[in-house]
Amino acid sequence: MSSWLADTIERAEEVNDWLSPKRKKSLSLLKDTRWPTRKTEAWRYTPVNNIERARFNVVESQGAPATDIPHLNAIDIVFIDGIYNAELSSKHFPEGLTITQLSEGNSSSWALDSFSKTKPERHFFGLINDALATQGCIIDIAADATIEQPIRIAQSFKQGTQTHTRILMRLGERASACVIEQLEGDELCFNTSFAEYQLAASAKLEHYRLAMQCADAISLGGCHFHLAEKAKLNSNLIGFGSQLSRVDYDIIHAGQFTDSKFNVIYLLDGKELFDLHSAIEHTQPNGKSEQNIRCIVADHSNAIFNGRIHIHRDAQKILAEMNNRNLLMSENAQINTKPELEIYADDVRCAHGATIAEIDKEAMFYLQSRGLSRNEAQVLLSFGFINELVDLMNNQAVAQWLRPILKQRFAAMEVS
């Protein structure tokens, strides 16, 4: 066992709170799980040994909060270095919405029951998060409640910190809400951030994970969704790579007539790495899932996408689509993309596609012939490649805030 893992387990054994019954189970699983190496299929292209090399402390909160998103008018839940900041967080919530802190203790039996229920056990760092996440929030939305204001969970991370946060959310029947998970920080830090969402029958969730940690950050996390009958999910993931960024997505279509859309943009530069593993489970008939993953890699960066669609035996009449398009800006950048389709039902439509391309030379010439410099043309074209997905975002404040940030990132990219 790695020394880092041994230390972590030792620390986890000291955690004693209302979630301890659940933590114990994950801890025992963790003890039986081997430290991921290149031989572990789920970690084949993503080395994690830099976690062992770096030293992190559990520190008092001292950094700055994540960037404000103008015009969002959100209900803010702010964590700085993994610690809830009550002062910067909203105190009043609309009717039908309850938000409590994980650190406050047991809020309800469903919270205890739901912890680690939607998130599959196979995620190694998910188990670590199970054992160590004492910070985070529990969001409960009553049946039939429509929460118009988006809920923003803003996390920022400073140099040298090690943090573990967890989000638990339940949407009652026919409830609807928008959640924005924002993660920021470019210094060397280590955090795990996992979120579990339960959507009751006919509930609707609009979801954003803005995984914008970059440069030296080490970030491991996941979003896991459980959809009951007629539930609808629209999730957007923005990924900036970093020294090590890994996100695991699970969307479990557990009822009939469920519908999920998952749009992903990742932009990597320098020596950054971003690894997304998505798994769509269709366990019931008449479901629909659609994934669009667009990725741009520059310089020496490294993008990994593993997309799994699993259609169970009785899940007939499923429409499942997965489309992964990659743009290579440099000869030294790397893309590993792998679709995994496992289909046991015979009356389904399941399509997947993956492409890796360079910038369209004809389009470059067209733009340059109008007076755009090479760099301007490249920024416009690469931005156009992902902007189609930004245009599809329902929340205009998020889309408007993102566009210049994404453009800025292109402008800084090394192209060769």
Partner: protein
């Protein structure tokens, strides 16, 4: 304005333009006609600097500035504009955004200040109207899902916005019905101000009914084999290009 001397251009190791001479003065409209494969598009790409079009001999200058030494965008900001035969579709990049960046680049190169957002919008709307494109086109992806005629009109709109010195129109009439042809021609004529020059590349005399050229040149085998006034275009329309066979050419040896 444009001075081309003894130009030779290779594409994939094959000589396509072979000792071409052309001199266009300010305000003049020159038409270049010629059969398929004569090198008409090659000429326009070589002048604008497209990759793969290698100039092996000769010179080309715009207002005494050596074009061949410049980057693609420098040629554009020096005042050269090419209306593409096949405009490129660029999904995700809105026409408006593209035009703004392009116009800004042109203004910067001329030492003029950038237009404000509202000034720009006003000009773009006017240009849109002039070529009879709905304003919604400004928000759409560049040429994305445009019909052939709409693409050609979009080229003319860009020309109006960018205010070049010399416009090369590469078969701007191809694929157009009579109404669209008239709109394109009107757009071009509106830009004739006695200083701006035009090089109109076409197969057919039809376009030249609307855009009156000062000179007509016949291009064959990579060089100009005959020059004349507008009456030459009529002659070609009546007789076709077959009479060019009498010139010393190796038919089928060239490609566009």
């Amino acid at each position: 304005m444009l001075k081309i001397t003894d130009l030779q251009v290779k594409v994939a190791d094959k000589d396509i333009i072979n000792g071409l001479n052309l001199h266009i003065k300010p305000g003049e409209v020159h038409a270049i006609m010629g059969p398929n494969g004569a090198g008409k598009s090659t000429l326009s790409y070589a002048l604008t600097g497209r990759d793969g079009y290698q100039v092996t001999r000769g010179s080309a200058s715009l207002d005494d500035q050596d074009l061949l030494d410049m980057e693609i965008d420098q040629r554009a900001t020096a005042g050269l504009f090419l209306a593409f035969q096949y405009p490129v579709e660029i999904p995700g990049v809105s026409n408006m955004e593209f035009l703004k960046v392009a116009v800004d680049a042109q203004r910067l190169a001329r030492g003029a200040t950038k237009y404000s957002a509202s000034e720009f919008l006003k000009l773009a709307k006017a240009a849109c109207k002039q070529v009879n494109l709905p304003l919604s086109f400004l928000k759409r992806g560049v040429n994305e899902g445009f019909s052939g005629g709409e693409k050609k009109r979009n080229e003319i709109m860009q020309m109006i916005m960018l205010e070049p010195k010399l416009c090369i129109l590469d078969e701007s009439d191809s694929g157009l019905d009579i109404d669209a042809l008239k709109i394109v021609a009107d757009g071009i004529n509106s830009q004739r101000d006695g200083k701006r020059s035009f090089l109109v590349i076409t197969h057919y005399q039809r376009l030249l009914d609307y855009i009156k050229p000062d000179y007509v040149h016949v291009l064959a085998d990579g060089k100009i084999v005959k020059s004349g006034g507008p009456e030459l275009a009529l002659e070609l329309e009546a007789q076709g290009y077959s009479w060019l066979e009498s010139y010393d050419r190796n038919a089928g040896d060239a490609s566009e």
